[in-house]
């Protein structure tokens, strides 16, 4: 019997998830549209004054990114759970955390990456300070994978529960708070032309911590949920 | 004793509102916690007792049915 290597198993799952998502484009487009609409609501609600907008821009973009990710999390395990493929993956002869990591990476490619690409455009609409663009991109680059990783823990815990939607946000949003705090603080600091490497280092630390530990938490949670 | 009169005690040196707010909320929360814990315990026991009664009934019904069935075959 040929035994797939870790890398081959990882690539197999990523490829499959991407293929399914591209054939079912709503799943990619809808969270992105949600992100754009939420961000455009603020100038309408707060008023189009550019000084106010540029002050709250980092917060708006990050909160919208948080909510958009939260909205897209359902896709991560729910449909696989509903049609039994999750069960088959848990029974495959690979360590579960490899499969989980592959699914999270696919999720990030499908939600985090589009958010990062569209964010500078929205930042223009919100009159973000010119010197903050670098910080915005860097925090999103380091921060959105954390959103996918930590979110996966929440989804894995609630995947078996019928009305898990509200519960999911209750579990996941508190875990997102540190990322939000340090990301917006980094962007604010950058706006004042000050070094923001400290905040960036903390986000990077959160990223590495969740990258090493979340796959194990998720696989434990999936084993509980599919029980 | 740090206070000369009851009114001085209640005033808490001008900070009465904050002090009594703290103590009031704490007592309220802890009282609610104790009451809910006690009622939970009681409810659990009632729930178990109720289910036992239901099971006894179910078993009696099954035995009755069996007895009837065997009576039917004898006839």
């Amino acid at each position: 019997m040929t035994q797939l290597s870790y890398r081959a198993a990882f690539a197999l799952i990523v490829k499959r998830d991407l293929m399914i998502a591209f054939r079912h484009r709503d799943d990619i487009v809808n969270p992105l549209l949600f992100f754009i609409i939420v961000v455009t609501l603020f100038p309408l609600g707060v008023g189009p004054e550019s000084t106010t907008l540029s002050r709250i821009a980092p917060g708006i973009i990050w909160v919208a990114a948080l909510l958009a990710t939260l909205l897209s999390l359902d896709r991560l395990f729910k449909s696989d759970y509903a049609d039994g493929s999750l069960e088959q993956m848990l029974l495959s002869p690979h360590p579960v955390f490899i499969l989980v990591l592959a699914k999270i990476v696919a999720h990030w490619l499908l939600t985090g990456l589009p958010l990062i690409l569209i964010a500078p455009l929205l930042a223009v609409l919100l009159h973000l300070h010119e010197s903050s663009y670098g910080a915005l991109m860097l925090t999103l680059l380091l921060g959105t994978p954390v959103l996918s990783l930590l979110g996966a823990i929440g989804v894995a815990l609630t995947v078996g529960i019928k009305k898990g939607g509200v519960l999911l946000s209750l579990l996941v949003l508190p875990l997102y708070i540190p990322v939000l705090i340090f990301a917006t603080s980094a962007i604010d600091t950058a706006a004042m032309n000050l070094p923001y490497s400290g905040q960036l280092a903390i986000i990077a630390a959160i990223f590495f911590a969740s990258l090493t530990l979340a796959p194990f938490a998720v696989s434990a949670a999936l084993k509980v949920s599919t029980n | 004793m740090q206070f000369d009169s009851i009114s001085a005690f209640l005033a808490m040196g001008g900070y009465g509102f904050y002090v009594w707010l703290s103590y009031g909320v704490s007592i309220l929360v802890l009282a609610l916690l104790v009451l809910s814990s006690l009622s939970n315990h009681k409810k659990t026991k009632q729930h178990i007792a109720q289910r036992q009664k239901r099971e006894i009934k179910l078993r009696q019904a099954a035995e009755l049915q069996k007895a009837q069935a065997s009576a039917d075959t004898r006839l």
Binding site: P95, G198, Q199, I202, A205, A209, T212 | -
Partner: protein, 170 residues
């Protein structure tokens, strides 16, 4: 080494490396000035560790001791200004200490007094003036009864306001 062992070793090693990276990043972050906190002397000389100086118009947090005798209160509004100097233990003041002037328009916290440690959020103007949007009193972790404090020579009078002063905000 059998493949099963090898796999397990890879996993353990990657976890350890991951956590090591995390620890390193956290230590680095702690050496940085994340919350824009300055001491009065650092307004002049730049941050102790990085030498970074605050610029005019920058938002910052400043923390220090209120210099005795420096508090000036406007008699018919809530405007107040005072000088801050570096916090040091035990508390002492000398004329040569660098000081910054904080101006504030609002009700001071009850703990505010001369010689007290405070934290102010505000904007730096004119190199060593701070227009505070918020003044918060920082309390140290030492508690003692009044009598004992009187013996040591500490006393505290909380700031009081006249009706006219309070109404001036409205």
């Amino acid at each position: 080494m059998n493949p099963r062992r090898k796999k397990r070793l890879t996993i353990v090693a990657s976890i350890i490396i991951g956590l090591g990276v995390v620890a390193g990043l956290v230590l680095y972050a702690l050496s940085q000035n994340i919350d824009l906190f300055y001491k009065p002397s650092e307004i002049y000389n730049g941050k102790e560790d990085s030498g970074l100086k605050a610029i005019d118009g920058q938002r910052l947090r400043i923390g220090g001791l209120v210099v005795p005798g420096s508090v000036h209160r406007d008699s018919d509004s809530l405007k107040v200004s005072f000088k801050l100097t570096d916090m040091r233990m035990p508390i002492s003041f000398s004329d040569t200490d660098p000081t910054v002037t904080v101006s504030y328009d609002g009700i001071l916290p009850d703990l505010f007094r001369e010689g007290q440690g405070i934290v102010a959020n505000g904007i730096l103007v004119n190199g060593n003036m701070i227009e505070a949007s918020e003044v918060l009193a920082k309390h140290d972790e030492n508690y003692m009864p009044k009598e004992l404090a009187d013996d040591v020579g500490e006393k505290h009078v909380k700031p009081s306001y006249s009706q006219a002063q309070l109404e001036s905000t409205n």
